[in-house]
């Protein structure tokens, strides 16, 4: 048993240890920034940590504090749900050798789709209406992803630029839809927001009363399972990974490279669209134009996917980390006398940037690690690359 376990652990150690080391280093450098600007980093991090609500699951937390911690933890889970789905929007194309920065736009289009279906037909049965709203959101997200995929597959337009452009088109386009006098503005003529999602299209709450964790989290978990199965257990997933490793070889082997580009970006977009649906059908129930540009879910999800090394379990864990970070630094849970939340939000962005930066250098560490082991004659030579390690 142990003789078998040790090589298993050794083979996977870089995949597990490096993200952890990356995170610790990023938080350390972030702490330096806090210290340099005259704040106490230990107190700040402690306050952010308490604000995530994770203390709820610790047995030593006093009962009196648990109610408040539960509220924060519910918030963390609500934020984690779209993060997981948007991270899958990055991960799917990444395994196909593409970098989808368009999660934010696909998420926004998902909101548009979900709102369009969800604010109509108040007399429909719940499960029908909900399913239809989710499909609407996934379709709009997939459409937005597929545009970038088609542009890549047909004329070779780089997906990083096209998805960024599609982000801004989606953001300004959605703001136009719900602005004062916009075509989809809600019944309140003096407020730039959409109509309310009707009861039958809302995701049911599963934990809590004030702003309960909604069933969208099941959707996120199911999406992770689907992602794992499709990538690792299907012919399509095999083709996607082959294109991601070497598009030319894949083409030579008869794998439809162009089709895989479109399909992975469309699938990724569908996940991001579902993320938008989770937010508007789960707890917001309408969209205000101001929130469209403020939202950063799709961008944070890039860090989530990269830190999770584009694996299902990794994405789940890093989404929790970043979801917690976002809630812990928010105005509602961070005590401004300890650390101003406006600063903390930017600190979170710095930490995300550092994590993405260090992930790049991880390749070198993995390479050194493998080279050392190769020297010891334990592993054949393989080129290091993010996202190719098993789930």
């Amino acid at each position: 048993m142990t003789e078998q376990a040790i090589p298993w652990i050794r083979a996977r150690a870089p995949g597990i240890l490096l993200p952890i080391a990356t995170t610790v280093l990023a938080f350390f450098v972030g702490g330096l920034v806090v210290a340099v600007t005259g704040h106490d980093p230990i107190a700040a991090y402690r306050a952010i940590f308490d604000g995530t609500g994770i203390t709820y699951i610790f047995p030593w937390t006093p009962e009196a504090d648990k109610a408040f911690a539960a509220l924060n933890l519910q918030q963390t889970l609500i934020i984690t749900t779209p993060l997981i789905l948007c991270a899958l929007a990055v991960a799917f194309p990444y395994r196909c050798g593409m970098f989808n920065i368009g999660g934010q736009g696909q998420y926004t289009m998902g909101i548009v789709g979900a709102i369009w279906v969800g604010t109509r037909w108040p007399h429909m049965a719940t499960w029908e209406h909900l399913t239809l709203a989710l499909i609407g959101a996934a379709f709009m997200g997939a459409l937005w992803g597929a545009i970038a995929g088609l542009m890549k597959a047909t004329v070779g337009a780089h997906e990083v630029i096209s998805t960024i452009m599609l982000n801004w088109i989606a953001i300004y386009g959605a703001q136009w839809l719900y602005e004062l006098g916009g075509p989809f503005q809600g019944p309140q003529r003096d407020v730039p927001q959409s109509a309310e999602v009707v009861k039958s299209a809302r995701l049911p709450g599963i934990w809590g009363t004030l702003q309960p964790v909604h069933a969208g989290i099941y959707l996120a978990i199911a999406a992770l399972v689907v992602y794992y199965l499709v990538i690792n257990r299907t012919t399509f997933g095999y083709g996607v990974r082959a294109v991601g490793l070497n598009a030319e070889s894949a083409r030579y082997a008869g794998i439809p490279v162009a089709r895989n580009y479109v399909a992975t970006l469309a699938l990724g977009g569908a996940f991001a669209g579902l993320a938008g649906a989770c937010d508007v059908l789960g707890w917001e129930f309408h969209i205000v134009t101001n929130d469209i540009q403020v939202s950063q879910v799709g961008f944070i999800a890039i860090a989530v996917a990269l830190l999770g090394r584009n694996t299902a379990i990794g994405i789940a864990l890093s989404a929790l980390l970043f979801g917690g970070l976002q809630v812990g630094t928010s105005t509602r849970s961070l005590d401004p006398t300890i650390f101003p939340p406006e600063l903390a939000g930017n600190l979170a962005t710095i930490i995300q940037g550092l994590i993405i930066l260090f992930i790049g250098a991880q390749l070198l560490l993995v390479y050194v690690w493998r080279a050392r082991r190769r020297a010891a004659g334990q592993e054949p030579a393989t080129a290091p690359r993010i996202g190719t390690s098993g789930t």
Binding site: V33, T37, F99, I101, M151, V155, G156, A157, H158, V160, I161, S162, I164, M165, L166, N167, W168, I169, Y172, G173, Q175, W176, E179, G181, G182, T289, F299, I302, A303, L306, P340, E342, L343, G345, N346, L347, A348, T349, I350, I351, Q352, G353, L354, I356, L357, I359, G360, A361, L363, L364, I386
Partner: protein, 394 residues
């Protein structure tokens, strides 16, 4: 060799004809002709569309797509202009539009020139956006701190160079994925400038009485018709970018150092073999790109807007990157693309103030144009061969 021999024939010629017809339809609706019969642009638009389809059916994809686009856009725009009164159409389409085209194109042009240096040396620089943002913040910070715009510019350039150095170290020495590193730079810039902005200026925002980069008033031409309003009082940094475009072209294509930069971007192994320092040149080019992008950002904050806001560059670095590709990695081409995007922004700006079209809808215009430009490039634009490839010294 008579001129007639150079006129393209077959599908290409027909597609070009379609573009010309579409443009004439628009031209007739604008001042000074101002034809007010809606049938004129519609008929010409249909004719242009027919030319486009004829070319498309005969597999002339690139020009066919352009002709179709011109046919649709020109006709829609012409009909819209006809619906406006002569004065409001004149308010949109006057010399001021060209002045604001230059204003909007300038920050893009600085960043695009930076992108050309970096990519010509073989390093993809997605981080242009972040470097612009850094320049925008430190430009205004340096100006507010010292009271002088030139100190602000110097500090902006230093900050851009520092961000670029980080990108260079990770991309060149650590051989990280350049797209991932560039994205990290964008996040870092967003976080750092946001953090410092809040920490230093708080809710009040940047001071309002900062020392702008001065405008250059040229006494002779100020009163001239059309040229006066466009060129009479341009910002110093706009004139500087004109010079930089020419300088970049000369350096890249007329000097030994430019030849070396291009060699390193095309075939680093061959360059290395003949003794060209690959890493040194790449470091230099990436840092230069950071300096230029930061100048573009600084123009936004201390040359144009006069304040800083979180994420104020709003994707301009990426538009600049698209301009680099659109301009085939050449300074004149990229500057032309920047002018095109600047024109879209300027047009959006004027339409909203004059015609009362939705600000949000018009704001999508430059981004839509970038997308169309990317599609219109069908197999035409070729990146330097080693762009994005880390080089391992042999």
């Amino acid at each position: 060799m008579s001129v007639v021999e150079h006129v393209p024939r077959g599908p290409r010629g027909v597609a070009i004809l379609g573009i010309v017809i579409g443009a004439i339809g628009l031209e007739l609706a604008l001042p000074p002709a101002q034809v007010r019969a809606a049938g004129v642009p519609v008929v010409l638009g249909v004719a242009a569309m027919a030319c486009a389809l004829w070319a498309l059916v005969r597999r002339e994809w690139r020009l066919g797509v352009w002709a179709a686009l011109v046919a649709v856009c020109a006709t829609v725009f012409a009909v819209w202009v006809q619906g406006q009164s002569a004065t409001s159409a004149g308010q949109v389409l006057n010399a001021g539009l060209f002045a604001s085209t230059l204003v909007y194109a300038t920050p893009l042009a600085y960043a695009a020139l930076g992108g050309i240096f970096s990519e010509r040396s073989g390093v993809v620089n997605i981080g242009l956006e972040g470097m612009m943002l850094t320049g925008a913040f430190f430009g205004i910070w340096g100006t507010a701190w010292s009271g002088h715009w030139y100190v602000g510019l110097a500090i902006a350039m230093l900050s851009g160079a520092a961000m670029a150095l980080v990108h260079a170290i990770f991309a060149i020495h650590l051989r990280a994925d350049q797209i991932v590193t560039g994205t990290a730079i964008n996040f870092l810039a967003l976080g750092i400038t946001g953090y410092m902005f809040i920490d230093i200026y708080g809710d009040n925002g940047t001071p309002s009485n900062i020392n702008y980069v001065p405008n250059i008033n040229i006494p002779g031409i100020e009163s001239m018709r059309f040229i006066g309003p466009v060129f009479g009082s341009l910002n110093l940094m706009i004139w500087a970018v004109f010079a930089l475009v020419v300088l970049t072209h000369v350096v890249l294509f007329r000097t030994p150092i430019g030849l070396r930069i291009r060699a390193v971007g095309e075939h680093p192994r061959a360059a290395d073999t003949v003794g060209i320092p690959v890493y040194t040149l790449r470091y230099g080019a990436v840092i230069l790109s950071g300096v230029l992008a930061a100048l573009g950002g600084a123009y936004l904050s201390i040359g144009f807007v006069g304040s800083f806001d979180q994420d104020m560059t709003a994707g301009r670095g990426f538009i600049a990157l698209a301009a680099v590709i659109f301009g085939k990695w050449r300074p004149y081409g990229a500057f032309g693309a920047c002018l095109l995007f600047g024109f879209a922004s300027g047009l959006a700006d004027r339409l909203q103030s004059v015609a009362g079209v939705s600000v949000n809808l018009l704001s999508t215009l430059p981004y839509v144009l970038t997308l169309i430009a990317l599609v219109g490039l069908v197999g035409r634009s070729r990146a330097p061969a080693a762009d994005g490839q880390p080089y391992v010294k042999g």
